[in-house]
């Protein structure tokens, strides 16, 4: 994620807008394509039809005076913007519109929550929630991943509002002519490919290829049926979105973390972390300034699909590959509608239901005014229902056997869905819904009854409606239609909500009651009887309302070349002769929406005369999708495999300049530095650290210092790790005794990835420093000339090669003390002033070489310090550890006990002790000159 301050993003988008168009909200999002995520910006903009511009401006002016709400309905669209800059785009020219999604009737969105807990997200470090927003229009289907923040929340709820506004809208279908300039813009920008900034090296290449790749993706998406992506995702209603946090799933993926969560515990922030908080967290990681700046604004062009989002991505990808595992099966769907005016089925229905030579695969039959009895309003039961059901069942096409899938009735409205027996096992998720729109929208004398089902792998919805009556009431009919669309909701077992519009195939039929608008110069009856329908159909209210886009947006109706279906005298074919003299009308209609539906027949059945309406039917050849299970599994497996592969490839990886460090000979107290360059060769930021091995206290041996021990490396970046080797008094004796060697294996761990071993080997050049008194007294030649084997032998508890006449004290000690004794007894500040480390090394070298230190031109302070270091580095102190407590007691008790302790010391230790005490005593004699006193020396 690149973090652009929201003001900047909005400013940039505003530069892209035409005058008069308004930016509602802008947010950054990751466009998920296949397995990768690319950064985009989303902008919700508002505009209006060009023709309305002047009107709109007038109204705005008027509103300024009156404060009223504008009457011109604005339209909204989502722009997808892409940046050509690697980092934060700083000028509008680096920003272009990639695609435009008008929020119209075909616009759909779904939202999924997900939690990111992928460890390669070093930038945000820890769990962070995100949402997946899927947007689809007639041309695009795009999946975006957005971090959860206030901005995102605003954006999403604005999109929801806009989409809802469209579905409720009464005005004509939006044309979105005002968007055309943007569409052109996006086409030209896309093809001319602005050159990527050259100085931002490593990712420009990737961005370039992405631009090239995008058009292909869009092409893939065009013509995809819209239900693809939302097949499994949940439709979120407006409450959920506006409510804020509650649409985020907050399940924590404990098992997905490869490491113990305690590692992240301190850093893992709250779910609704603001971007600022993310930035702060970055600073928690040890970084040099460069890396910090890089990481804050670093924008990897490609991000891995996150583990937590897998399921959504699998669904998305499966939807995109639908063509490769489904085939279309053409089924004949027979849809019938009849307002039976409350009469019983006194006749057979074969002339309505079984007139075609071939039996239909599916029957969907809608009745209206099945029961006009008052009881039907009050009680659930109806005597008519079983009668008509029996009549239907006995009149189905004789050439096939049918099973009833669902029967649903609301007062007089009855909907029966039947399928041929052979298809029965391919019908699933059958649900029904009834919506009353009668008096107070409560009574079921008008309204709609619907059945939703899955036919093979296509979602199908049948809606049988009975809309408001009377010639002049077409607006009521429009509202009844709106009400049915809005309130018909099928709730699945998992709480999944489906509206009518969420189905792939929709058949909407019934007594819609739209009449032929009265016109003085038109004699409806005459034209109807004469078969001159053209004029009448122009005056047909349903046709008129559809033309202005008021109802049945996106629906089709076949050409009507049959006479009006209403209103006849009972048992005749003659027009209404009652007092009311109702005019003929095509009240009974059948419309459909969806891909792959072809109407074969649309007709009236004049033979059935028992009602004042004649039954109508339509026969469709509808292509339903059938999933080939074997192919589906294969594709699914492929998708899973690809995801696994991506997950492995997206693991962080680095290269090391060396995995083995061979040190040149290491001397006591001599610093040696080596460097290893760690280069991030992957595409993602890497957080590395040197980790402790099992049961080790530290990540490396005490003679080694690593700097830095952990750091962050941006993709393409390097980090130089310095290894400082210095054997000091604490580690010298272990190395000198041969108990340990100058050898270590460092474990370099990448957060979320693999571990690298770095071997460090070297030879420690033994020195008299760090050797034991017992060993040193047995050496009669310079230390450096003694073979290592002999040294190890002498350091062991039972040395074999000993001198017959060992020295009383180590000769090195004598050199040092003698030097001080001859030169420094009167030196002020002896032992309290530090020596020079360079001179210490010289002294060490001289002592090991057996050269008297007095020949060195070093300061006495350095000699003094060398003496102290020499004593400190002894594996066993002069006063052996075993005698130490006794010695402390004795010091307090007086001379005799002290003498006893001294006598208990090993021979050479006693010699050294006595020798040193003599020297110290000598120093105190000269206390006036060297300003030392007993307490200072005692503290030494």
């Amino acid at each position: 994620m690149f973090h652009v301050p929201v003001m900047d993003l909005e400013e940039l988008v505003k530069h892209k807008l035409l005058p008069g168009h308004k930016l509602i909200a802008a947010v950054q999002a990751g466009l998920v394509q296949e397995f990768v995520k690319r950064d985009r910006a989303l902008a919700l903009i508002e505009g209006f039809e060009a023709a309305d511009v002047s009107a709109h401006l007038d109204i705005i002016a008027a509103n300024k005076r009156s404060g009223a709400v504008p009457a011109v309905e604005v339209e909204r669209a989502v722009l997808v913007l892409c940046s050509t800059a690697e980092f934060l785009p700083s000028s509008p020219s680096q920003f272009f519109i990639e695609s435009v999604l008008p929020i119209d009737a075909r616009f759909k969105y779904t939202i999924d929550g997900l939690e990111i807990s992928h460890r390669s997200y070093a930038l945000t470090d820890g769990n962070q929630s995100a949402i997946l927003l899927s947007l689809s229009s007639s041309r695009h289907q795009l999946l975006f991943e957005m971090t959860f923040s206030q901005k995102t929340n605003i954006f999403v709820s604005e999109v929801m509002k806009a989409a809802e506004g469209v579905s409720k809208r009464k005005a004509p279908t939006p044309e979105f002519t005002w968007l055309k300039p943007y569409l052109n813009n996006s086409a030209s920008s896309g093809s001319s490919k602005p050159s990527a900034a050259g100085d931002h090296n490593q990712n420009s290449q990737q961005i370039f290829t992405i631009e090239g790749g995008s058009p292909c993706l869009v092409a893939d998406l065009i013509g995809m049926s819209p239900e693809g992506a939302d097949g499994g995702s949940q439709t979120v209603n407006s409450d959920g979105g506006a409510g804020g946090d509650n649409f985020i799933e907050t399940g924590r993926d404990v098992v997905a973390n490869r490491a113990s969560p305690s590692h992240k515990g301190g850093l893992g922030g709250s779910l609704a972390a603001e971007d600022e908080a993310d930035l702060l967290r970055v600073k928690d990681i040890t970084l040099d300034n460069f890396a910090l700046n890089q990481s804050t604004f670093y924008k990897p062009a490609v991000m891995p699909v996150l583990a937590g989002a897998r399921e959504s991505h699998v669904q998305h990808m499966m939807a995109q590959r639908q063509g490769s595992y489904t085939h279309a099966l053409p089924l004949t769907v027979f849809v019938g509608t009849w307002n039976v005016n409350g009469v019983p089925p006194s006749i057979g229905l074969i002339e309505w239901l079984a007139v075609d030579p071939e039996p239909p695969d599916v029957y969907a039959l809608g009745f209206q005014e099945l029961d006009l009895a008052t009881e039907a309003y009050i009680f659930q039961a109806s005597n008519r229902e079983p009668e008509w059901r029996a009549a239907v069942l006995s009149s189905l096409h004789p050439a096939a056997r049918y099973v009833e899938v669902k029967l649903v009735r609301l007062v007089g409205m009855l909907l029966m869905v039947l399928v041929q027996e052979k298809h029965a096992k391919h019908v699933s998720r059958v649900q029904a819904c009834t919506v009353p729109t009668g008096i107070m929208n409560m009574l079921g004398n008008k309204g709609g009854v619907s059945v939703s089902l899955e036919l093979y792998n296509t979602s199908v919805c049948f809606v049988n409606c009975h809309l408001a009556a009377h010639v002049e009431e077409y607006e009521r009919r429009n509202e009844d239609y709106d009400c049915i669309c809005e309130k018909t909701v099928f709730v699945g077992p998992s709480g999944l909500q489906r509206y009518i519009r969420d189905h792939s195939h929709i058949y909407f039929f019934g007594d819609m009651n739209y009449r032929i608008s009265a016109s003085p110069e038109v004699n409806i009856r005459k034209l109807a009887s004469a078969g001159q329908y053209e004029t009448l159909l122009k005056l047909d209210q349903l046709n008129q309302q559809r033309r202005i886009g008021r109802v049945f947006k996106g629906y089709s109706e076949g050409p009507i070349n049959f006479q009006p279906t209403f209103k006849y005298d009972k048992d005749t074919d003659s027009w209404d002769s009652s007092e009311k003299q109702r005019q003929p009308a095509w009240c009974d209609r059948i419309l459909w929406a969806g891909e792959g539906i072809e109407q074969r027949i649309y007709r009236v059945h004049m033979a059935l005369k028992i009602s004042d309406h004649k039954p109508v039917s339509a026969s469709f050849s509808s292509q339903v999708k059938v999933i080939d299970q074997a192919k589906y599994r294969r594709v699914h497996e492929e998708v899973m495999k690809q995801l696994d592969k991506m997950e492995n490839e997206f693991l962080p990886s680095v290269s090391l300049s060396k995995s083995e460090v061979v040190l040149s000979p290491v001397h006591f107290l001599e610093l040696q530095s080596e460097t290893i360059t760690i280069s991030n060769t992957g595409q993602f930021p890497v957080q590395f650290s040197f980790i402790k091995k099992l049961n080790d206290e530290e990540c490396c041996k005490p003679w080694l210092k690593i700097h830095p021990k952990s750091a962050f490396i941006p993709p393409g970046g390097d980090c130089v790790v310095r290894l400082d080797v210095k054997v000091d008094k604490s580690s010298a004796w272990v190395l000198a005794s041969g108990a340990e060697q100058l050898y270590d294996i460092l474990v370099l761990h990448l957060d979320g990835g693999k571990d690298y071993f770095i071997t460090i080997t070297g030879d420690y050049v033994r020195s008299c420093f760090g050797s034991s008194i017992n060993a040193l007294v047995h050496l009669n030649k310079p230390f450096c000339e003694v073979p290592v084997a002999q040294l190890i032998d002498l350091e062991s508890s039972a040395p074999q090669k000993t001198l017959e006449l060992p020295y009383a004290i180590p000769k090195e000690l004598w050199y040092l003390v003698d030097h001080l004794h001859s030169h420094a007894l009167s030196t002020e500040g002896l032992f309290t002033r530090p020596g020079l480390s360079k001179e210490l090394c010289e002294i060490r070298a001289a002592l090991d070489a057996g050269m008297p230190s007095r020949e060195l031109g070093v300061s006495v302070h350095s000699i003094a310090q060398a003496l102290l270091v020499f004593l400190e580095a002894l594996p066993e102190p002069v006063v052996p550890c075993s005698l130490y407590p006794a010695a402390l007691r004795a010091a307090a008790e007086g001379y005799l006990p002290a003498k006893q302790v001294v006598s208990q010391m090993p021979d050479y230790h006693r010699n050294v002790f006595t020798y040193l005490m003599a020297f110290l005593n000598e120093l105190l004699v000269h206390r006036h000159e060297n300003k030392l006193d007993a307490s200072t020396l005692g503290s030494l």
Binding site: V255, A256, H263, S689, K692, K693, L694, N695, I745
Partner: protein, 221 residues
């Protein structure tokens, strides 16, 4: 360990162990990428791979740690054994020495993993029958004597690679089902991290102590 919004119910940690050059990384690569990696460099460190598989309708995410086989890293790679639900112990059918070292690898595996860890013996390079140095029968016998699952596989041809990983998972799953594998213990293992955020907790103290000695020893070699 519910699946939650994720599409797997369990995570199993695997380790792959065995001598240098027996093809551990190639087996991992073949399993995760379905490709043979010729000229695979020696692993200096621990490689990491994942794949989601299905056992008895349950989706299981395998986290596979492929360790360096070189003797000098032995002490360090021991850090990675802990918490493994499955251990794939690999030898090279064309090099007897790699087979001879199995008992030492097995000792490590037994000592450093929990008693329910499924150990699966893989004789790799099964495609090189002409250069065979270890017969199927003797390895089979070794496996039987030590209660190991066994298969000869080839990372080059892919033969039996899938099977080895899947059979191990099935066995682990079976252990969970019949209750012999304590899920809580297994879970703590899955969460284990070699740099030891929770090292030395509870019942592991003895294990730590015993392996501590070994680590020391081997460091000084």
């Amino acid at each position: 360990m519910s699946a939650g919004p994720y599409n797997y119910s369990y995570i199993f940690k695997y380790i792959i162990i065995g001598d240098m050059g027996v093809g551990k990384s190639c087996l991992l690569h073949q399993f995760t990428e379905k490709k043979f990696m010729a000229d695979c460099p020696h692993t200096i460190g621990v490689e990491f791979g994942t794949r989601i598989i299905e056992v008895a309708g349950q989706k299981i995410k395998l986290q596979i740690w492929d360790t360096a086989g070189q003797e000098r890293f032995r002490a360090v790679t021991r850090s990675y054994y802990r918490g493994a639900a499955g251990a794939l112990m690999v030898y090279d059918v064309t090099r007897r020495s790699t087979y001879n070292h199995l008992s030492s690898w097995l000792t490590d595996a037994r000592n450093l993993t929990n008693p329910n860890t499924v150990i699966f013996l893989i004789g790799n390079k099964g495609d090189l029958d002409a250069q065979r140095d270890v017969t199927y029968e003797e390895a089979q016998q070794f496996a039987e004597e030590n209660g190991l699952m066994f298969v000869e596989a080839s990372a080059k041809t892919g033969e039996n690679v899938e099977e080895a990983f899947l059979e191990t998972a099935k066995k682990i799953y079976q252990n969970i089902q019949d209750g012999s594998l304590d899920l809580n213990a297994a879970e703590s293992g899955v969460q284990h991290k070699p740099n030891g955020g929770q090292a030395g907790a509870g019942g592991r103290a003895t294990l730590n102590n015993s392996s501590a000695g070994q680590t020391r020893e081997n460091c000084s070699c």
